[in-house]
Symmetry: D5
């Protein structure tokens, strides 16, 4: 039993000392880089094998390794409306494009939702003459509302 | 001066009567389908030409057309934490993957944010054997923090 | 375009005038009674056929019938924490048994959730010597967290 | 006097070390598995005998055993609207099906509520070809509003 | 279908025109005066007979009479923390004496609650030399937590 | 200077070790049992004599005794809307019967409030064939609004 | 039955047309000017005589006059934390000087409060060389906590 | 660097040990008693001389003395709406008399506010046959809205 | 008596029909352009002369003109945390630079605040090779905390 | 890994011991004084060189120096609506002038926002006969809404 914040702190410290990026760790683990970062923040669960491998890569103790295999209590931002500008922009997108996205999804797929569980997310850097662009891809299964 | 809800209602009614999808309207306008839906919900601003063209496509009056060219008061979901399941899933993504995304963006791009202004968003339907997937692409300029 | 509250009001009035229960309507439609009530409150979407049939059963106009086939904006209780005692008790269950349920679900199924989309719900009345009992069954597909 | 979080932590640690599931502990105690998990999270009260027995099963100290027999301060999720996806789905059910459930209960039982005190809850796993289903049964006494 | 606020308004107006007090109406109905006031504010449900009788006493129309027999959506104060000083004092009592009351109830009755459903409430005026006193009696069935 | 939570903890521990109920302590002090519980939770202030006597009854140190004579910062429930079911029921009573109570008090006493300061509260257990009842009496001075 | 906002609007309009200040009306009524303003905003109750006299002064109809004699639902600012700068400053005073004031009152008077019911409030203008000063006097009865 | 709560605690302890009232300290310092209490709660800033003098009066260390000369982060009540009954009454005054006070101030002084910075506050005890009264005087400079 | 939203709507409509910018109106009035916009949104008060002149410029009725001379209820954004991206950025500046600004102001000016009443604000457009910049100047009197 | 509050505390303590102002440090670093204060509060990120230089100026350890080069979690005021009067005034400006500023910016620049990232802020002291004025300049790039 180690609390989530403690685990994140230990993992980040080890990552810093090893001088590794999420990308590099992701490659070693054979997983996506956002998923790996999510693991660091206790928002994802590793298999025993993955946890063990990560433990070896970072040189962290067994207790931490074990914790990473347990389903975490997810979703622990400090505020309802996030204030850090990086994270707030996603809230802004939700506020500005939430209703349009719903309209489009319902029109294209019918009544249902994009799963946030059977879901993956990735970030790419696209260099353009006028500056780099952050391209984020959300990819979730469509779940139609079931009738009964 | 026509209030935003009124405009949305009129546009949706006209779209329904004409039997058009956002995709079809987007094609006629030469714009992205999410942008068009955003225009319907008064979250985007049309040029005079675009507004006029949309007016012709849908057969709505001049007053509505004119309103679409004015910068709107954006971001008017009913609740701080959206409750409609389609829109909530984006909030869940933000809660679960917000910190990991920030960590990845800062690692890949340095200290700065993904713009939500110099920004575009698209939705695609990807058919898979186990069911359709909703693939959403957020594409925003990286803005590095300026020092002074 | 008829607003959700208006539709609910019309449906309830018609139901009252016809002297029908949800159970009776559900039987005529071949659907579950909670699903039918959800349709009345614009929390479910009917097929065109179902909407038409309901229109005939209740004798409501075509505009209403048409609206019932469109995906609604779901989840419109008046308060974040519901105050009506019937509905509050579900919030109390969530507050008291939320963490235990999560622990049990994670233990029995692994890391994932009970879907609220591929989901059905029913209410039964069980007569006991010491008084009737309300038995509610929630039945949702288990969705395991996807890794990538 | 040991604080609730401390007790939960100790119990979970002991359970982990003993390698026991809630189901197994429940069987040994002759109680339902959700009730046992609720006891772990200090949302239920054990009789002295039950507490003692649990103490023996898990090998925890007397102080902990004693605390389990005292009525706890119930209902301590971190947020008003829970963010962990497993628990949020119950909030979503409440938001989407709260009014329909109230309508059904009032129609079937008259003016009153489902008790959350004279109440039990269980979770079953139902294997289906398309995947496992979580089936949760809420079973509470109907309490009619008393007049005076 | 008449909305709750409308009904309250009509009943209060009729009561005022007839020059009746809640006490007088309560006596005619054979019910407690707080229950009658609760009926006026749509927080209680009348039997058909009671509603009819009240209709005759106040001279209100049949539609109103009918509405009074339907289970209402209860609990609609304007604010989470009530601001009217009369009502706020009950919130203050809850804030100041909530934990002590819980301690006393648990000590006297064991683990359980005072029902707010199988419940009655009355107000008396007690004249004292130093001024009148408001004496309110809450009388609810004790409901012990059920184990399973 | 000892913080309120610390004092409560010490007092509760001592009470537990002495095996005393609030009722027994109240009798020894010549005070009401809810007032004594309020003192334990630092919601009331003892005279020096009362504090000393309580100190002797429970065998707690002088520092604690001294603190009990200072006016406390009152009203420290964890949440705006209390979630523990015992305490929540009082909030529910306030939500459901708040407006009716105000109407009755204003009708019986005129424009003013029930004091929560010149106020006492008691709990009795009334055994009935169908089970025990919790009877709580709030008794506060009526304070008429002063004009000037 | 006329709603509070309507009454305020009517009274303010009449006052404006008559070209009267609160001070002038207060003098005619033999009441304090803040009390009169409170009456306009439905935060105070007039006697029948006072209401009638005010009706004559302002020339408003009988229905309004009658409403002023009924105890109002008090305390209806739009926000929890008021945003109008004039009113916010009182909130700021409460935030900055609330604890110091409590300490001073408890030290000077013992454990108890300043009544906001047996209470009066006045505003004076004091001309000083460096500009006018607003001097507000709150004058409330001290209510000691009652023991029982 | 000593945190605000720590300083307050130290000052209150020293004051208690010396057996001094705010009034007595205020006299020694040549300052108002509420200002002195505000200094104790880190809501005011002392000059070096004042801080030193207070240090001598109370016998507290140099570090504390130094902190008292730094502008504090003001306004740290625990809740948005204060729950302690002494402090809540000021909030109630604001809710009930906020709009009337604004109306009076604007009528007497024009468009502007009472400053909470160029501001002083005092409390007096006025003995009356029917009991003591708390008289609080707020005295702030009127600041007219500047145009530009 | 015309409500604030109504006035804003009328003024904006008239401004649009006349084809005038805030800058042009400001020049005609001899006032700053932000002040003029503030007047449109009922956040500032005009002298009779200014109101009359604005009435002539825009051709609006006398009732509107008169309202503009009355101190308004200021500060009526729809949300506590504004969601429109233009306005949100000011909230973000406050969140990110609030503490640093306080530190700088206290260091440069001593303990006190920048007045928001004896205050003016202006916006300029500065063209730069890499794009236009918005330069906003806040200019408020420093108000030192008064001691007493 | 040092937590943000810890870093701020250390930096402020060192600054105090060295007797340096933000202005002096800013000059040594060749940066603006608000930016430097922002760095102290972990709202800005230094280059390695800048961090090292600051470390030398203040004599703080290497761990702190290193932390200053990492992108921070920004925006951590204690409250949604800040209560410290210095910081609140910015919120008041936002509430009072937010809509007017948006109107002016949209009129002068078209549909878009002032960046809070490509942004700088400065404070100047302007001495006037009637007292010092705080002049704050916000200077952010205009970002037009991109269409797609």
């Amino acid at each position: 039993m180690v609390c989530a914040d403690k685990i994140t702190e230990e993992l980040l410290k080890a990552k810093e000392e090893k001088g590794l990026t999420y990308e590099e760790i992701a490659e070693k683990l054979g997983r996506g880089k956002v998923w790996v970062a999510a693991l660091f923040y206790r928002q994802a669960t590793a298999s025993e094998e993955e946890a063990k491998k990560l433990g070896e890569i970072l040189g962290v103790g067994e207790e931490i390794v074990k914790e990473l295999t347990k389903p975490p209590y997810r979703g622990r931002l400090i505020e309802d409306i996030p204030r850090d500008p990086v994270i707030y922009r996603f809230y802004e997108v939700l506020q500005v494009y939430g209703l349009p996205l719903k309209a489009i999804i319902n029109e294209m797929f019918g009544d249902g939702i994009m799963s946030a569980i059977d879901f993956k997310i990735d970030v790419e850097k696209v260099e353009k003459p006028e500056g780099a662009r952050v391209v984020i891809t959300l990819d979730g299964k469509f779940l139609p509302y079931k009738k009964w």
